[in-house]
């Protein structure tokens, strides 16, 4: 079982690499080095703040775009091209396929984030000339960004298991945008009354709370996100990912591959 999942994950990773997904790193490298040089020339004392903010936001956005655009095709492309037929006619269970695909994409994003993180730290070193202790908080922000990717991967897989790539992209991207304002949504729900409050609160808690996973501004100001937040967010992200993946598996287990 584990070897089959690892095999599918490895192949998904290889597909992403060979389809030149990691070429986004070039764009990122250009962006971050250009920003570092530019900021280094015009900013006074806020170089670090600008580089960390810009760098981590870019890491997050690049990753989200990759997660959505690869994630939505993970299942539907395999069905459309019928590559799935020769996989599922082997002793591979459908849930193993979904989990393998998820880990393959998650692995791609982790590797991608790793190289981007090197870029962020490189730019930081360029503008600040040395690292300080609060710079370690950047690693926490990167960790939470990876948790964000896990949720998006699982959601993209969920939508990919029952809809067309276009619709899956629309659903996943909409949820990402709404989830980025989840805190505001919860605040808005608190201001309503009666049955509207029930519905609004339910919807606000149903969408993934990406705003809680965003500590970029905090670490840019060299503040610690706190262990409590890290733990809570980890549990939340794992629970949300597991739920979305279970949904994807439930749908895919019943799907006729016409």
């Amino acid at each position: 079982m584990t070897s089959r999942i690892a095999c599918i994950a490895g192949n998904t990773f290889r597909e992403a690499v060979r389809d030149r997904v990691l070429y986004n790193l070039i764009a990122f490298a250009l962006l971050i080095s250009g920003a570092a040089i530019f900021v280094g020339q015009i900013s006074i004392d806020i170089e670090r703040l600008v580089v960390v903010n810009l760098g981590l936001t870019a890491v997050s956005l690049f990753g989200v775009v990759i997660a959505i655009f690869i994630g939505i095709g993970l299942v539907s492309k395999e069905i459309e091209k019928r590559t799935l037929y020769t996989v599922l006619s082997r002793p591979v269970r459908r849930w193993e396929f979904i989990i393998g695909k998820f880990f393959g994409l998650a692995g791609t994003l982790v590797v991608n984030t790793f190289f981007m993180a090197i870029g962020v730290f490189g730019a930081l070193l360029y503008v600040a000339h040395k690292f300080s202790k609060p710079d370690a908080f950047i690693l926490v922000a990167l960790y939470l960004i990876i948790l964000e990717f896990l949720i998006i991967c699982a959601l993209a897989l969920l939508f990919s298991s029952f809809s067309s790539p276009l619709m899956a992209a629309v659903f996943a991207f909409s949820l990402f945008v709404i989830g980025s304002f989840a805190d505001d949504l919860r605040g808005f729900a608190g201001m309503t009354h009666g049955i509207t409050r029930w519905f609004a609160t339910g919807a606000a808690y149903l969408v993934p709370n990406f705003s809680a996973l965003n500590v970029i501004s905090l670490v840019a100001h060299q503040q610690s996100p706190g262990m409590h937040l890290i733990l809570e967010n980890t549990l939340y992200a794992l629970f949300y990912t597991a739920t979305a993946l279970s949904g994807a598996i439930l749908i895919f287990e019943r799907r006729n591959l016409k």
Partner: protein
């Protein structure tokens, strides 16, 4: 033990956007394939061949019915370790090389890492792809992809191989090679179940065939049995171009081809015809009973169904 027992498998899809209406792709199918035989599953396009294969592979779920493969319930994942499958017009991960593709499928099928590389080399040689094993599949022709498909189907040394239109996209030489490969599989004790609408391939290869049309099984049997229903005629060939008048008198249709004559006469006239040739001191080359070709049988069956449907009669054959 039967290799495949299909017990009333049927499939109805719901089609349409708003008002879903049922579309029956496969009527209850009962079929048994014995171990070690090459079994041809014949039918025109849209007959239900691929639906049957997809049901057996667990790619679509049946509306009703069940099946047993190699004596076990067909849904058990362990059964799949013992079967190979080539889908119709296969498409593979085109960023992989042929060797990587087989390595991937080998891992999924549980082929142990120790002997996997050797087995891959062997299978690549068997299907004639050894020289291009390092080339990405996106550079493969249709025929080469078909060969890669056959390679992945037999890689894990399965007991039972399902091939959906295996000759599709192959040139005459490639078709010949696939036929040889299927015969080799049979000699190795494997069971081969293949769907095709190329009847000459089925006639040359199959021990038994089934004919399916409009989702319904129309006929099953050994090729010899299905094609032996001749009108009691024999074909006589003799050397030379001379046609004795007494041979014509037997009512035979005679045709001169090169330096021989071919005559078709009624079976009961056979002895008289031989006597004529002896009397005329003509050298006899061959006497063979005239058989209906599988193609003629197939066409007759389908026409029968269409006629019955047109006249409102039940479609049973």
């Amino acid at each position: 033990m039967a290799a495949i027992e299909i017990l009333g498998l049927e499939k109805t899809y719901k089609v349409g956007f708003w008002r879903k209406r049922p579309k029956r792709a496969l009527k209850p199918l009962h079929l048994t394939v014995e171990e070690g035989e090459i079994f041809g599953f014949l039918g025109p396009n849209g007959a239900g061949k691929t639906t049957t294969l997809k049901l057996l592979m667990g790619l679509v779920f049946p509306t009703a019915g069940t099946a047993r493969i190699l004596g076990r319930d067909w849904t058990e994942p362990e059964v799949k370790a013992q079967i190979g499958f080539l889908p119709e017009q296969p498409y593979f991960y085109d960023y992989l090389t042929a060797h990587e593709l087989l390595d991937y499928y080998g891992q999924l099928s549980g082929v142990p890492g120790k002997g996997r590389k050797q087995r891959i080399e062997q299978v690549l040689g068997q299907v004639g792809l050894h020289d291009v094993k390092g080339v990405q599949l996106r550079k493969f022709s249709k025929g080469m992809l078909q060969r890669a498909g056959i390679a992945q189907a037999i890689l894990h040394n399965p007991k039972l191989v399902f091939l959906d239109e295996p000759m599709s996209g192959l040139d005459p030489l490639g078709r010949r090679e696939v036929r040889d490969l299927m015969e080799q599989l049979k000699q190795d004790g494997k069971t081969v179940f293949f769907s095709t609408h190329i009847l000459s391939d089925a006639e040359a290869l199959c021990d038994r065939v089934a004919i399916i049309h409009k989702g319904e099984l129309r006929s099953v049997g050994a090729v010899e049995d299905l094609t032996s229903s001749v009108e009691g005629k024999v074909e006589i060939m003799w050397q030379g171009t001379y046609i004795p008048a007494s041979m014509k008198a037997l009512g035979g249709e005679c045709h001169v081809t090169g330096d021989s004559v071919r005559a078709v006469i009624a079976e009961h006239q056979q002895d008289a015809a031989i006597d004529v040739l002896r009397r005329e001191r003509i050298r006899l080359i061959a006497i063979t009973p005239l058989r209906t070709s599988l193609e003629a049988y197939f066409v007759e069956k389908l026409q029968h169904v269409q006629t019955a449907a047109g006249s409102g009669v039940g479609s049973g054959l």
